[in-house]
Symmetry: C2
Subunit: 416 residues, 2 copies
Amino acid sequence: MAKKAAPLSPLAPTGGFPRIPAIGGVTLAAGAAGVRYRDRPDVVLGVLPEGTTVAGVLTRSKSASAPVQWCRHNLEGGHARALVVNAGNANAFTGAVGERSVKRTAEAAAALLGVSPGEVFIASTGVIGEPLPEQRIIDVLPALKGGLKPEGFEAAARAIMTTDTFAKGASRRVRIGNATVTIAGFCKGAGMIAPNMGTLLTFLFTDARLPADVLQACLVRAVNKSFNCISIDGDTSTSDTCLLFATGAVGAAQPAIEGLDDPNLTEFRRGLNKVCRELAQLVVRDGEGASKFVTIRVNGATCKKSARKLGLSVAGSPLVKTAVAGQDPNWGRIVAALGKAGEPMDQNLLRIWIGGLPVAENGARHPAYDEAALARHMKGQEIEIEIELGLGSGACTVWTCDLTHGYIDVNADYRS
Amino acid sequence: MAKKAAPLSPLAPTGGFPRIPAIGGVTLAAGAAGVRYRDRPDVVLGVLPEGTTVAGVLTRSKSASAPVQWCRHNLEGGHARALVVNAGNANAFTGAVGERSVKRTAEAAAALLGVSPGEVFIASTGVIGEPLPEQRIIDVLPALKGGLKPEGFEAAARAIMTTDTFAKGASRRVRIGNATVTIAGFCKGAGMIAPNMGTLLTFLFTDARLPADVLQACLVRAVNKSFNCISIDGDTSTSDTCLLFATGAVGAAQPAIEGLDDPNLTEFRRGLNKVCRELAQLVVRDGEGASKFVTIRVNGATCKKSARKLGLSVAGSPLVKTAVAGQDPNWGRIVAALGKAGEPMDQNLLRIWIGGLPVAENGARHPAYDEAALARHMKGQEIEIEIELGLGSGACTVWTCDLTHGYIDVNADYRS
């Protein structure tokens, strides 16, 4: 696995990795275990203080990986003390061997840190169907433990990259009652799956003190507005994992939160939504071969779910995505993509704008359609598509990138 | 619209367009109306004898074109006397103007031929959202009428091409009772949609004498096993149309058929299935940028529908399709694509073969996995994937092609 690194995505944010403040109680370390890649960090150890609650959203794939199944089981307990992540091998479709491999890794981390294996969360990304050499990971855990520090976010984000061209992180400070808490996270894309590598992995941390069930409810809502609103190529991974850890290190300064509707939780929920949205957008900006970032706003659908389905149908259409790559304001393909979604829609009520310019209305091309102005917008790097269904108040914004030769280059390349 | 013609697909059948016998009562003519293309035939007129019954399967898109809506209405009558098809403009998302345009064309053809507009069927393929200059079509109808002949299949198949690189036709002779009847058809692909051009159009003809409801039942079943089992890019067109005309010219030699289960109909149904399957496979062989033809056999699913959904999930996966393009026997992507289909599946029962070679079993890579032998198969032009779910007796075969730079070239190209 000695591949030439892909050049930095043209859509990468300027300024590099953001400054992320330490989260009370969270320490991280990254190291090189040589799972598959050589000469680069590929394993992350995260350690969390006693009392940390955890929430998670995992892939719905019927061929979910062994680590995903492990996390699904441990999430029932609601508590976490450690996180072990590796890149290079997804430990997916590896059968009983793969399950043993996760268990051995978790038990080794648990023994090293003096916690229970049921509180150790595992995530893996990389090649599918090859046994994971977990001993390589276990061997570096003691060294990682020695290197744990509160400012390890950037190194951790870098160690879990596969075909990503930049490390992805985001954070927000919010108030719960009179206490200030921090929400921070890092993730990897999303090419969506490189030569048999794959997966969206996201790890979020906060020093807030929240019961696991409330944390879970917050996370599900945030994921539905962020990671579930992006599409690179429509291929769902066997290993998609998003975990949120709340250490409670903020202490008694924060009022206790009992339920999702507690008014003291409003700002936290908004902050979490923003961190998730920022990370999700970074994933799109690093889509394999992406040269344009596309925002699709859907309004006037019969409900929110319908709006998302319509938006994702447009975002996932290879014909829309190649048209964007070709700088073609090809709104006919948007109409076709909406039509195939199977959601309520009336051609005669539909209105479409590209870059704020009207293109369709009353079941036909808009009278003020201005191809030259549209062509100018399509030459830009940020493409905006707005769709009004005229049926109800369901709204959703989704994000995607274009489909270019770069995608074929990355994915039609032989694995070894 | 002066585009360089794409080179002939490497998957095109050798021997060119097949010899298709005349179908009793059917005459066809093709001509150049200059709808959008210059200097090539772009309109087809088909004329059918009195008593011809008709069946049709039309796009389920919510943004169906004006001609599709016209055909949907006329199919209720069950009778047909004429067919007018054009390439270059789909007359889709053209509002009330588009509806008038279809009506004017049908009325002109009806007046010219002395039939009712309710028996004139219209299909259009091409750019979406631009008003169709139907007068250009109407103007050439008299000349087309003068040129009608029974052997017009190849010319008709050629005139409806958009990004197709070869004309597509197929036929079979079968017996109904002691009478021999012919089933023949032509179609266009399926790039799936070229620079705003699009659509799968199929026209089938037979001299059998069949009631419209029986014809419809036969056609739905044939389409479900053929055109509904292929995937180029997962983008459903606004204009997909498949029509089957039965002239009854075979006469009294054929026993009357009352229902779908009539034993005298068995051979006809098989023949229709074969013609449809052959045409559907030709569409895949002419997929935009295709360099490999992929057959995916799914067995052991819980039911037939589930098998088709699982097969199409693999066939539609950009990651599977780019892996095939890269000659990579990347079976992990097949597992991932099956997993995302949302259909019943058990990793531990799943078995996969590529080119007849076992790759996966018991939830893991097969012990006899032979990467070198697999690589040899992947270098070929015909790729075979076999999937055994081990859950039931649901089976389905689907067909697709690889996803290459050629697809991006065709579709990221500006329309004009």
